[in-house]
Symmetry: C2
Subunit: 152 residues, 2 copies
């Protein structure tokens, strides 16, 4: 089977999103086909996907893609600050391509993970003696949709 790296059809398709390539460059990440695909997926799907979901979504178009590559890539993207690693769900890690300031709400009933708009994350609360790299605000409970269903 022809490799993705040498497939002109695929290259052309990927070139349709030069923004993603540039985005990776901004974070000092060499834009391989696989890295572009993962980053591109995260930029265009704000569903806080798991590694497995990303793999399942990309695999049909990238038959040679490996789960390990998805895991490795996500680790790299998070380490360079291009992607946020969400740990609110104890069952598995989720990833967010939106690195702007916002919190998250996990519905314990249906498992949906919602964005929560935040104006500011109070600086005063930061632990001054430590060097902070990231901050996350997590809410858990029952979402509006599930609350409605269980009301009657």
């Amino acid at each position: 089977m022809q490799s993705l790296q040498s497939c002109n059809h695929y290259k052309k398709k990927m070139n349709a999103t030069p923004d993603t390539r540039a985005y990776l460059n901004e974070y000092g990440i060499r834009p391989s086909v696989q890295r572009i695909a993962v980053m591109n997926y995260l930029l265009h799907h704000r569903t806080h996907p798991t590694a497995e979901e990303i793999y399942q979504a990309l695999a049909p178009e990238m038959p040679t893609l490996s789960r390990t590559t998805v895991y490795n890539t996500l680790e790299l993207l998070v380490a360079r600050g291009a992607v946020i690693h969400l740990t609110i769900d104890p069952r598995f890690s989720r990833y967010d391509g939106d690195i702007s300031l916002h919190g998250h709400f996990l519905c314990d009933h249906c498992g949906t993970l919602y964005d929560v708009p935040l104006k500011t994350l109070p600086e005063a609360l930061y632990p001054k003696e430590h060097r902070v790299n990231s901050a996350q605000l997590y809410y858990r409970g029952t979402c509006a949709h599930c609350s409605q269903e269980n009301k009657q």
Copy 2:
């Protein structure tokens, strides 16, 4: 081997902490020997232990204790609101017997999990349309101790 439930020596020892028994009652949890032991450990060790750490700590005094029981008990304690389930560390769940308002800081270098005092968690930021059961504020980075070491 004599069971814990029928061991008078152990009962006497546990009776030395009637506060823990009362604490469980407050949360509607029937105070079995195992539940008292787990809750008692969390009330007296503010180290955010994992299930395994709790098991290892209790096992010497409770040779018949099962890991499954520790997991089951923690699940129950969290469900009733007596204990907080911390998901900041992607590797494993940690538990906190201190349910007062405070955040957490995980040092990515040494793995230590610190408490972060909070004055208030801004109400305005809550997602109004959802029913919120718990809120967690997580910080990650390098702690003061590790920052100092890597400075020179």
